[in-house]
């Protein structure tokens, strides 16, 4: 423009262009086109800002906003003193996306060394069409850090939890175990799965280019760790029960066994041990037999340990008194076509002596005085034939047939514990009616802190006390179980030696048991012992199970600091074996 200024100095108004007469439609068309473009722009803006806003916002956020899951750990399981029985600790799992993984042989070797696998195997694992493979699960975090430091393409890691059981096989059946995905599979882990399980939380954050969290956006949902479960179990007593059971099984060359220890006052399960057992920390090659919590899932014919219930019912209904004489000679009794016999023939016995000497004939004769319905009702009242409802998997009810179908011979055999089946835990619990003043306690797996539950009365306190003193006689010299004596304490209990049923016939195999409580003056603990198929030459409950009882009970009472209630003179009787002293 400036150049022209000098030469051609005409004004804008004189521009020849303006002189031209252009058709009006051209300017209108231009104006319309420009307006139209604006309309398109506004429409596009409206579409982006209003109609498609959510989508774009989301896209934008996905560039910087991340939702992070905050993991929650599974609750611990502790014993009554707070000692840990099961605890979760974070581990790492290493995974790979095979198509994206291209490793040099050196890298493969490095990785294999860290993961403790064979390089060939590792290469084979990576050589698949799958889009995701776990290379190794549950490795310690320091090793995972080393793997991450290799910076291998296509290899990643996840956080996961691993459950540890420090007490191992000792408490295996009680505590149970979880699967890889933190799901309770057995024992308390299953029974209290809902409470143990944690709820993972989450938070949304803004991350910068370096992956660092810059700020929180939105609300944070805090993770909820699983609840800690305090069992009633006492680790020390559990150890006593477990180690003495293990020892007895080995000495008697037995197939299996169980020990249950209950607190008389609260109904808490203080110890529960089974043999065979397993190590919950390493569950490779486990078979069903080891996993079974026999004390809860297996029933057996209890034998003579049931006699006190028959006698108790007879005393309660005033059919006999403890000094009523029952003629048990000649040690045999024929009912219908079947004959009941005593292991050792006795003559005339008082009712108390029937328990002390464990006479089948005596018990059968007393049972004959009782109506079948009343007997069935009593069995039902003490919990036989009912599932204990502890929440354990595979709890069984045992078998008590309906009274209407009882034949006289069946009622007679049931009086001494045949033709009826119970689990060890049912048997232990049933004895709480004698250890307490006639009431049956509900059982508890967890520690009870404040409320002391009361049981349902089965027998009157008078009957319970009478049976208790008879049970004390069974342990004294002249009874069936002098080996159950504990120096310094008065003990009450009953032996059981039952033939095993095999294919509907009684085989020459036995289940030896002993159930008792102490101190007899004010019972605190019930210990029930069951040894399955002892084949070391001895099979009587008084020889096989009673020593286990004495060892577990004696040491437990000492551990708990319960005052002795007997003069030590009893302890020095030559017949008494000193129980193997243990902690």
């Amino acid at each position: 423009m400036m150049r022209f200024k000098g030469k051609v100095a005409h004004k804008f108004a004189e521009s020849p262009l303006l002189q031209m007469r252009l058709p009006l439609w051209r300017s209108r068309l231009m104006a319309l086109l420009i307006l139209g473009s604006f309309a398109v722009l506004i429409g596009r803006a409206f579409y982006l800002q209003t109609l498609n806003n959510d989508f774009l916002q989301e896209k934008g956020e996905s560039r910087y906003r991340r939702d992070i899951e905050i993991s929650a750990s599974r609750g611990r399981i502790a014993d009554r003193h707070g000692d840990v029985l099961a605890i979760s600790t974070p581990m790492k799992s290493i995974w790979a996306i095979p198509p994206a993984t291209t490793l040099t042989p050196v890298q493969t070797r490095q990785l294999a060394a860290l993961l403790e696998t064979d390089p060939k195997q590792l290469a084979h694992k990576l050589d698949t069409d799958k889009t995701f493979v776990f290379l190794r699960r549950q490795i310690p975090p320091p090793v995972a850090e080393q793997v991450a430091a290799l910076k291998l393409p296509g290899i990643g890691q996840d956080k996961e939890y691993r459950r540890f059981y420090p007490t191992g096989e000792m408490t295996a059946h009680m505590v149970g175990f979880t699967g890889v995905d933190d799901k309770g599979l057995e024992g308390v882990e299953l029974a209290f799965h809902g409470q143990l399980l944690g709820q993972p939380g989450s938070r949304s954050v803004i991350k910068d280019r370096r992956g660092q969290i810059v700020e929180d956006v939105g609300s944070i949902k805090p993770p909820q760790d699983g609840k800690e479960i305090r069992l009633a179990l006492d680790s020390k007593i559990q150890y006593l029960a477990y180690s003495h059971l293990k020892q007895a099984i080995a000495e008697n060359n037995a197939k299996a066994g169980g020990v249950v220890v209950l607190d008389v006052r609260t109904g808490e399960i203080v110890a529960l041990a089974n043999w065979p057992t397993y190590n919950p920390n390493n569950r490779e090659g486990l078979s069903g037999g080891q996993l079974r919590n026999r004390a809860v899932t297996d029933t057996f014919e209890p034998g003579s340990t049931l006699k006190p219930f028959t006698i108790g019912l007879a005393l309660e209904n005033a059919k006999v008194r403890s000094d009523t004489v029952i003629n048990c000679a000649p040690g045999r009794l024929t009912i219908g076509s079947a004959t009941i016999s005593d292991a050792h023939p006795h003559g005339a016995l008082t009712v108390a002596e029937v328990i002390q000497k464990s006479s089948n004939v005596g018990a059968a004769k007393i049972a004959a005085m009782l109506p079948a319905q009343k007997m069935w009702q009593m069995f039902d009242d003490v919990g036989f034939g009912q599932v204990p409802r502890l929440g354990f998997p595979g709890e069984v009810s045992g078998r008590v047939r309906p009274w209407k179908n009882w034949r006289p011979i069946e009622q007679a055999t049931m009086s001494y514990g045949h033709g009826i089946s119970v689990s060890l835990i049912q048997l232990a619990r049933a004895y709480s009616v004698f250890a307490r003043d006639g009431d049956l306690m509900p059982l508890s797996l967890t520690r009870l802190d404040s409320s002391t539950p009361t049981g349902a009365a089965v027998f009157s306190p008078k009957t319970a006390r009478e049976v208790r003193s008879m049970l004390e006689m069974a342990v004294l010299p002249g009874g069936t179980a002098p080996k159950a004596q504990i120096p310094g304490y008065r003990v009450a209990g009953k032996t059981g030696t039952a033939h095993k049923l095999e294919g509907g016939r009684y085989a020459n195999k036995f289940v030896s048991s002993f159930v008792g409580f102490a101190p007899a003056s004010d019972p605190r603990l019930i210990v029930a012992v069951m040894i399955d198929e002892p084949s070391g030459g001895k099979h009587y409950g008084g020889d096989v199970a009673a020593p286990v009882f004495a060892a577990v009970m004696g040491n437990s009472l000492r551990t708990l600091g319960i005052a002795p209630d007997a003069p030590l003179v009893v302890a020095q009787s030559p017949k008494t074996p000193t129980p193997k002293a243990r902690l």
């Binding site: 750990s73 000692d83 840990v84 029985l85 605890i87 979760s88 600790t89 974070p90 540890f164 420090p166 007490t167 191992g168 000792m170 660092q212 969290i213 810059v214 700020e215 929180d216 006492d234 680790s235 020390k236 559990q238 150890y239 180690s243 607190d263 006052r265 609260t266 808490e268 203080v270 120096p487 310094g488 605190r524 000492r558 708990l560 600091g561 319960i562 005052a563 002795p564 030590l568 302890a571 020095q572 000193t578 002293a581 243990r582 902690l583």
Partner: protein
């Protein structure tokens, strides 16, 4: 009029600088918080591991073994036990 405008402009500039620095500070502090929270989580994990170790070392079989073999301890003869009190029990 001009002086007021200049003053307002200055005020705006100062305020915006303030916003920038406080935002920066907030992020710094937030990162420090993150670091500390991560440390807290790590410590919690370590606490769990130590608890596991504690209960592994403290299992009854191990205690008994050491008491018997290393410390030569044994349960006293029943005749030599004198009971001092009658207190004690499970539910303490």
């Amino acid at each position: 009029m001009v002086r007021l405008n200049v003053f307002l402009l200055l005020a705006v500039v100062i305020c915006s600088l303030g916003v920038v620095t406080s935002q920066h500070k907030a992020r710094k502090i937030f990162q420090a918080l993150e670091v500390e929270q991560e440390r807290a989580r790590q410590l919690e994990v370590e606490f769990g591991q130590l608890q596991l170790e504690l209960s592994t070392w403290g299992t009854a079989p191990r205690i008994e073994k050491i008491a018997r073999e290393k410390l030569k301890m044994r349960t006293p003869e029943t005749e030599r036990v004198i009971t001092a009190t009658s207190a004690g029990g499970l539910t303490r």
